[in-house]
Amino acid sequence: MSHPLDLKQGRVEMAHGGGGRAMAQLIRELFLPFMESPALRAGNDGALLARPEGRLVVATDSHVITPLFFPGGDIGSLAVHGTLNDVAMMGARPIALSAGFILEEGLPLADLARIAQSMGEAARAAGVPIVTGDTKVVERGKGDGLYINTTGIGVVADGVELGGERARPGDHLLLSGTLGDHGIAILAQRENLAFASDIRSDSAALHGLVATMLDAAPGLRCLRDPTRGGLAAALNEIAGQSGVGALIREAAIRLRPPVRAVCELLGLDPLNIANEGKLLAISPPGESARLLAAMRAHPLGHDAALIGECIADPHHFVQMETRFGGRRTVDWLASEPLPRIC
């Protein structure tokens, strides 16, 4: 029997990805205790799942983020939430997750354990088991500590038909809460913005909220989580897919005061900033009041608001009525959000 892993001082070594005893030990001592599930415990090459009723949704997402730890979460919880949310945006109930790790040689095992623990906790809180996994190690300097890929499987109930191509002029646009928390929390941490240290990522699993919403508004047309590219990208995607325009109202969009302050000081547009625990819903006008009430009754939709409508527009522009009553285009962002220089 070899010595147990040194979770305090130890570091990831090339052998931890080599398929030998070291790798087996890493999985046994570091991953399994946090991610317990019968399928994972079985130790086979794949997971055997019972066949569910209904149509299946599969979604995958790779997570590369610096810093690995940030206020409100870490790369582990984010990898769970991000993929669960992609599954949920299809109207599905997630049933299983896979996790693939690419570790950089030298990563402290303490950090890895913290991340594995937070992943396990996030999956358990969401009620979705991690059923299979993979670990590879790359040489020092060839990765940012670690990358995590997660794939999720979910089941869609009969009658649920969601898609970005289903929006129609007149449909209502609902947003489940404040914008920009995740992106600004990451930026504040990465750039050491001391005045913004109390901003937390909104990273959360949204499938519970989605289930509530589907009950309240069976005619729901489309759900989208405004992650990278923010609300602006989500709206432009849907406008293009459905061949409609959109008009939103700035006054209806909520920002936490510190998020607003950071955006202001750095000249960033909150509509372009990433979120990890919010969704945009498109609903036929007749169902939106009920939908909004159901969202507000859920803890993750507490600040939900009707923010605008789809409109007929051959150019598929997204426009916003500003707080001042003027109008502007809401565009995709050409590159990552950058602060102004002047």
Partner: protein, 378 residues
């Protein structure tokens, strides 16, 4: 951090706009140039043109640091970045500015050059400390607001004896550019471009003060109102300009009293004077060679001057043909008048520098004002 909302109040804005509408003479136009890209951004982002009467017209000046950097200087920077020993650091938007032969610093990076995006001049110092075997060059750009941080980095580098740190200095001066615009023949002799007043720089004026504008106001008989970057600041400045123009006055007024004084920030001015000196001439994109419009390192700091250490030779390069950035930066044209706007030239693949940074007029119109020009493709 409540301050932001105070300056965002929609009702106040509508009140100000109504006052402007009531006081503006419907029989004439008011053509106002906002010098700073930050103002251009605020005007387009908040749809301020929709609030104001149609005879208030904005023309967009050259106050966008990335926009005015000439192709030749970016070419120099790319050449530097391609040297294997060099790590070239600069602010984010700079990396996307198109240079000669369809390159940019971002392309050079993809091809293997070590180019790093930084958020502050001190990041470049840190990178130099962490990489003692490499040459770290900070590509410094910007108006009077970004000059003091570069000066701080240089003083610190000298104090530490950081031998592998240099600055490729491209800092430019606002008053020289304003004077150049006012001197242009279209304005002075031909009168083909109307210009009734200036919305003066915001953050720049916090450093240099309001005094430098007094000469222009007097000599060229144009009112100047220094304004903050918040949309309400801009509206208030418009009202102050309309009042001056109606009364036939041409004074320097300060709307942005919460940050700007007549003398400016003397400490920052001294700091800059210790490290930098005037160049006889510097090329600006759009304006061409402008005398005494830029800074270089003083001889005391020669050891930290990338132009000396790497023997950088400057070659002026004409702007891309059919890109109207030059005319736009001088206020002679509007972005949508460029044939390439939103067709060949977009923020994803910019042809001119005005399409690169969010402070550039083309980018501001593309991102925020495109619904006004529905003939452009989605």
């Amino acid at each position: 951090m409540k301050f932001v909302d105070e300056f965002r109040d929609g009702a106040l804005a509508r009140g100000l706009a109504a006052t402007v509408a009531a006081e503006a003479d419907p029989a004439r136009d008011y053509t106002l140039m906002e010098f700073c890209g930050g103002h251009t951004h605020a005007i387009t982002r908040y749809g301020l043109e929709d609030l104001l009467p149609r005879n208030i017209r904005f023309i967009h000046g050259p106050g966008c640091p990335v926009c005015v950097l000439p192709v030749g200087r970016i070419d120099n920077a790319i050449e530097l970045a391609r040297r294997p020993e060099v790590i070239l650091c600069s602010y984010g938007d700079v990396l996307r500015v198109p240079a000669s032969h369809r390159t940019s610093l971002q392309r050079a990076r993809a091809e293997g050059a070590d180019v790093r995006m930084i958020w502050s001049s001190l990041d470049a110092l840190r990178i130099a400390r962490e990489n003692p075997s490499r040459e770290v060059v900070f590509l410094a750009i910007g108006f009077e607001t970004t000059t003091p941080p570069t000066a701080v980095a240089l003083q610190q580098a000298r104090a530490e004896g950081l031998a592998n740190f240099t600055v490729f200095c491209n800092h430019v001066l606002t008053p020289a550019a304003i004077q150049n615009i006012l001197e242009s023949p279209q304005l002075r002799e031909l009168g083909s471009v109307p210009l009734d007043g200036f919305i003066g720089p915001s953050h720049v004026s916090a450093i240099i003060g309001s005094r430098p504008y007094e000469y222009f106001a007097e000599e060229y008989q144009k009112p100047v109102v220094i304004a903050g970057f918040e949309p309400l600041d801009v509206l208030q400045a418009v009202l102050m300009l309309v009042r001056q123009i109606n009364a036939g006055r041409f004074a320097v007024e300060n709307q942005y009293t919460r940050a700007v004084t007549r003398e400016g920030n003397l400490k920052a001015q001294r700091l800059v004077a210790e490290v930098f000196e005037l160049r006889e001439s510097f090329e600006w994109r759009g304006l061409g060679e402008v005398p005494y419009s830029a800074l270089r390192l003083r001889p005391d700091y020669a050891a930290f001057d990338a132009e000396r250490r790497f023997n950088i030779a400057y070659h002026a390069v004409p702007d891309a043909r059919s890109c109207d950035c030059g005319a736009i930066l001088r206020g002679l044209k509007h972005p949508v008048e460029c044939k390439l706007f939103a067709t060949a030239c977009t923020p994803e693949s910019p042809i001119g520098s005005c399409m690169v940074s969010s402070e550039g007029a083309c980018s501001a119109y593309y991102s925020y004002g495109r619904h006004r020009a529905p003939e452009s493709p989605a």
